[in-house]
């Protein structure tokens, strides 16, 4: 899905890095947004609606619409259309509204 030949643009892609999506190892370009790396790997379902659990992809790609919220390195509600990819990142489908790490730590009695 990556564009290699374009009449106007050249893409200065960063170096290749590996990351995981729901435990599956994938490859992306360092510094590109996570949604672009997922899309290039053929992943289009990024989240699910809260009550009807309908699949959601991205919609606006500039951080406005909240259609692409995912769990990234344990942090919930990350807008993957604007969050940049780095090596070893753990990207997961989020279920429900997500719990902040701080909140989860408090509930399990872990000191913050």
């Amino acid at each position: 899905m990556r564009i290699t030949d374009h009449p106007i643009l050249t893409f200065g892609h960063g170096r290749k890095v590996r990351f995981t999506f729901d435990g599956r190892e994938l490859e992306g370009m360092e510094g590109e947004v996570i949604a672009a790396a997922l899309h290039a790997a053929g992943v289009r379902v990024l989240s699910h609606s809260h009550s009807l659990h309908r699949p959601r992809g991205f919609y606006c790609a500039i951080g406005n619409c909240s259609s692409c919220l995912m769990l990234v390195d344990g942090e919930p509600n990350v807008r993957v259309c604007v969050e940049k990819l780095s090596a070893g990142m753990r990207v997961e489908t989020q279920s429900g509204k997500g719990r902040l790490r701080m909140q989860a730590d408090r509930e399990t009695g872990k000191p913050s």
Partner: protein, 370 residues
């Protein structure tokens, strides 16, 4: 309401002469104009790269040479950025999101998990626009993307949105993005347009038609379908009263539906700051009431670009110049040159809007003033 936790983790309150929110065509132009008239400017953008939506616009601009006609949007972004970098007195605050503006004039900003507080003498809001959505069954399926999103994905990130795209909307954005999809090697299976005529410039439409892409006017999308993601859509014809005609359904297989049905002003910050807003359909949605200096009803807050009403990037640049100069004028900066910059910008805006393409904007501005 005053800024919460003024002495919390963010540390000291910083003062600034002019703070500009948004480094797109309007914000960059505002920074350039205010700084060149002697103002100290802080220019804030949530992206790490300034330019707003210009950074994905590979087509050459129309209009007048004063607003870079004949130059590609991506190049205009670089030209403006270089000019601002070359101007003394502009500080960039990038990867930074403005959270709110409070009655004590404090602006709160989030940048890399820290909260900053700025207290500007003048604030220029140039936050741009967001994409409209179109209601139809299954319009939330993955694969149904806004036209701007498709542009960002392919022109900024270099990733194709899919293999077969059905475009909805034959305004300038729909036509231009269709052409850009072809340039990126993506099949555009057709363009549907609910209006009986093509809304965009005919030169763009002709290019699309020559490439063999059908443009179906008086057609709209009936529904989309697919299991986990989009597999296709059904389109049908509309009669002269915009009502769908049963029996005219056509099934189009596509893995992307690109929705290019317009933009609406990204006006949350203007609302939050207490600016008087009015709904003006011709300007794309809720827009702030403002005077000839582009000052809103909150003294010291100015507005420029798409968040003040949807137009082209060319008028956004000129509005930015005007807002920047007006802020400088109100701070008694720049002497006689300031009034001259304002006057020239007002004249350029008048010229940009006086043709048939400016009719909608003229009507909208009339309604806003009335």
């Amino acid at each position: 309401m005053s800024a919460p936790g003024a002495r919390a983790d963010g540390g000291a309150l910083r003062t600034a002469q002019v703070v500009i929110v948004g480094a797109g065509p309007a914000g960059l132009s505002a920074a350039l104009s205010a700084a060149s008239l002697g103002a100290q400017v802080v220019l804030i953008d949530r992206e790490s790269r300034p330019g707003g939506q210009l950074i994905k616009q590979t087509h050459m601009f129309f209009g007048s040479r004063a607003q870079y006609a004949g130059t590609r949007g991506i190049d205009i972004a670089r030209i403006l950025y270089d000019q601002v970098l070359g101007a003394a007195g502009v500080e960039f605050l990038l990867d930074a999101t403005v959270l709110g503006r409070y009655s004590d004039s404090v602006v709160t900003v989030e940048q890399a998990d820290r909260c900053l507080k700025l207290k500007p003498e003048r604030l220029i809001i140039a936050t741009g626009a967001s994409e409209k959505v179109l209601p139809f069954p299954n319009n939330d399926l993955p694969g149904i993307y806004g036209a701007g999103a498709v542009q960002t994905l392919m022109n900024v990130h270099g990733v194709r949105p899919g293999r077969r795209v059905l475009m909805v909307g034959a305004g300038n954005i729909g036509l231009i993005v269709s052409y850009q999809l072809l340039q990126a090697g993506v099949d555009v299976v057709g363009i549907v347009e609910a209006a009986p005529t093509i809304g965009g410039y005919l030169v763009h439409a002709a290019k699309i038609r020559r490439s063999g892409v059908p443009i179906l006017t008086s057609h709209t999308i009936k529904e989309a379908y697919g299991k986990a993601a989009l597999e296709g859509a059904v389109v049908w014809r509309l009669d002269e009263r915009w009502q769908p005609i049963p029996g005219t359904e056509r099934d189009i297989s596509a893995d992307v539906v690109c929705v290019a049905v317009g933009l609406s002003p990204l006006a949350e910050l203007l609302f939050q700051a207490g600016c008087e807003m009015r709904y003006v359909a011709e300007l794309g949605g809720h827009v702030p009431v403002r005077d000839d200096d582009l000052q809103t009803t909150v003294p010291g807050i100015y507005v420029a670009g798409d968040c003040s009403g949807i137009e082209e990037a060319s008028s956004a640049m000129v509005e930015g110049t005007l807002a920047g100069a007006s802020a400088a004028a109100s701070l008694a900066l720049g002497g006689r040159q300031t009034a001259a910059v304002q006057e020239r910008a007002r004249r350029e805006l008048y010229e940009l809007r006086c043709g048939p393409a400016g009719q909608k904007t003229r009507d909208g501005l009339c309604r806003l003033a009335g």
